[in-house]
Amino acid sequence: MAESTYRALRDGALEGELAPALTIKDSVASPFALQVFSHVISQLFSSILAGKSQSRGLVVVSFSRSPSFYLDLLKNKGTDVASSNKQIQILDCYSDPLGWKDQLAGSRNFTALSNEALVSSNAIVFREVKHMDKLYNSIIELGKGLVRGGKIRFSIAIDSADEMLRHAPVSSVARLLSNLRSHDHISSIFWLLHSDLHEARVTAVLEYLSSIVASLEPSHQLANGQRGDLENFSLIKHNSKKGKFHVRFKKRNGRVRVMSEEVHIEQSGINFTSLPSEGAINQGLVPKVQFSLQLSEKERIDKANVVLPFEHQGNGKPIQIYDGRRSLVDSKHERPVAAVENVQTNENCGSGEIIYYRDSDDEMPDSDEDPDDDLDI
């Protein structure tokens, strides 16, 4: 299911439509958004290199980590980054986002290091993170340089939306993301978001801008946030290695698909597995009351064997319409009574059956047709 997320990004945008956008959302209780984000980056970049994706390049807008973090990440996954600098570029909003180093260098109080990390063929330093329009232009320029114009598209990864929201109002950030999504050269875009750093409405704005929202939640909810006892500590320990991964896809036809998986955090990376069986969860959810809410095996077989009294399907008997003026006793003498035993009933099982008399002829008889079929949607 995490696969279908990255596949949607890989397949990219259709002509004349907005590019798919993914929000990866977490909270302090399960702070794994970065791991998921890194996973998506490496998967997407591999498919870019292999030529399997619509986009031909990746622009990483990095606020929270140094460019070398991403280059090392890709190197560790086996990508030869040195030769692929034509396909990945990093807009470095980490090293000097507010231009402090420039200012200090100007006042001669500061010796800027000739830092190899800053000067690299894969990264460009950006110093004006408070200006979303300049950021937008830099992203587009970097991306176009990567794919060298034409009809070719590139993808954008933003780490993270929180930093953008810290430096600029939500309306500017929303405008930037929206413009990026509508740009002809953008294939797909995804970003990281820590939901507990913002008001609910801010998170909602970014979710509205996304076609896919992936949220990470703790496996176990802690009792009232107190880390006091041992039990809570073991839950904390559990939550530090595992979490739930929920994805909500907004499809083109308007339908929404929701899927869930379990995510495991290991030293080497992350793994996605399907959630423990639904039955196990449901068992736990059935409230403990004095009446039996479950069916036994025999009861289920009996239930399955009851033939539903749809008149149009027929059961070999004449259709009776209940005539309220006569009692049932009288009618017994005048008309042959509908046989109690249904000929289709399996004689071995219990005598479960439904006897139905239609009230009057005015009622439409049942039909197999779907009355909505003639609707033209």
Binding site: Y94, T111, R166, H194, H198, S240, Q267
Partner: protein, 251 residues
């Protein structure tokens, strides 16, 4: 004696084995505490470890909370002489008690405020031989007071912390901060506080016991080491010359 009793904390931080090169290099360590359980002892312990004779570590201490004499007195009891370390250029003390950031522009001028402080730290580290860069620890005591000095602008403090973080990538040094959880607990959304939790590679929380006050145990420490994917929890008792750390049930 010191070695043995602080072992659990050292173990959780990776300081129980070799400390050269500094095991916390390139990492951000955030200490969180409350009024009932002060986390300063963790700061003092890390300072002491960092200035151990077995290592060539350099510490830059940024003090918003107490003057030099306070730390000197405490570290002396722990067996560390800050004056001689300062004279040997292993300990740099930046007294920020009187810092008041200029109003309005929030320190856009590089002459004053947090930008200048960043510049000063950068200059101090650059002046050291390159081989020592990864053995540098920057300690900030404490963040809530830095926020006060910045006229309440948590954004400005976060910007400063971001630049300090770039130092950890640039020089591979470590950044150790102390913040108080209960100051922010009344807020609906303690953004500043939560930001630190996200930034930290190692999170150390000092909290009271769920069962309340006790004479033998002062509180509990929970150390979350993201790099090693390990969470540890144990009790502590702060004594005159040492801090004892032990698992629950064994004083």
């Amino acid at each position: 004696m010191n070695q043995r009793s602080s072992n659990l904390l050292d173990e959780a931080l990776g300081l129980d084995q070799v400390i050269e090169p500094w095991p916390l290099r390139g990492q951000v360590v955030a200490i969180e505490d409350q009024v009932e359980t002060s986390g300063s002892f963790v700061l003092h312990h890390l300072l002491k470890r960092s200035l151990s004779p077995n290592s060539s570590n350099v510490t830059i201490f940024i003090a918003f909370s107490q003057p030099f004499s306070h730390y000197d007195r405490i570290l002396r009891k722990l067996g560390c002489n800050l004056v001689s370390q300062r004279d040997n250029s292993r300990f740099f003390f930046f007294d920020m008690l009187k810092l008041q950031c200029p109003d309005g522009d929030e320190g856009i001028t590089p002459e004053g405020g947090l930008i200048a402080l960043y510049g000063k730290i950068h200059k101090t580290i650059s002046a050291l031989p390159e081989i020592s860069w990864k053995n540098v620890s920057i300690i900030i005591d404490d963040l809530s007071l830095m926020e006060v000095a910045a006229n309440g602008s948590s954004d400005y403090v976060l910007d400063f912390l971001h630049y300090c973080r770039t130092l950890t990538s640039e020089f591979d040094c470590s950044l150790i901060t102390l913040n108080h959880e209960d100051i922010y607990s009344s807020e609906d959304r303690p953004t500043f506080f939560i930001q630190m939790e996200y930034l930290a590679d190692i999170l150390i929380k000092a909290e009271p016991l769920a069962t309340g006050l006790a004479t033998d145990v002062h509180g509990q420490l929970t150390v979350s080491n993201k790099g090693r994917n390990k969470v540890s929890n144990f009790h502590f008792k702060v004594k005159e010359n040492v801090v004892e750390c032990f698992y629950p049930g064994r004083s």
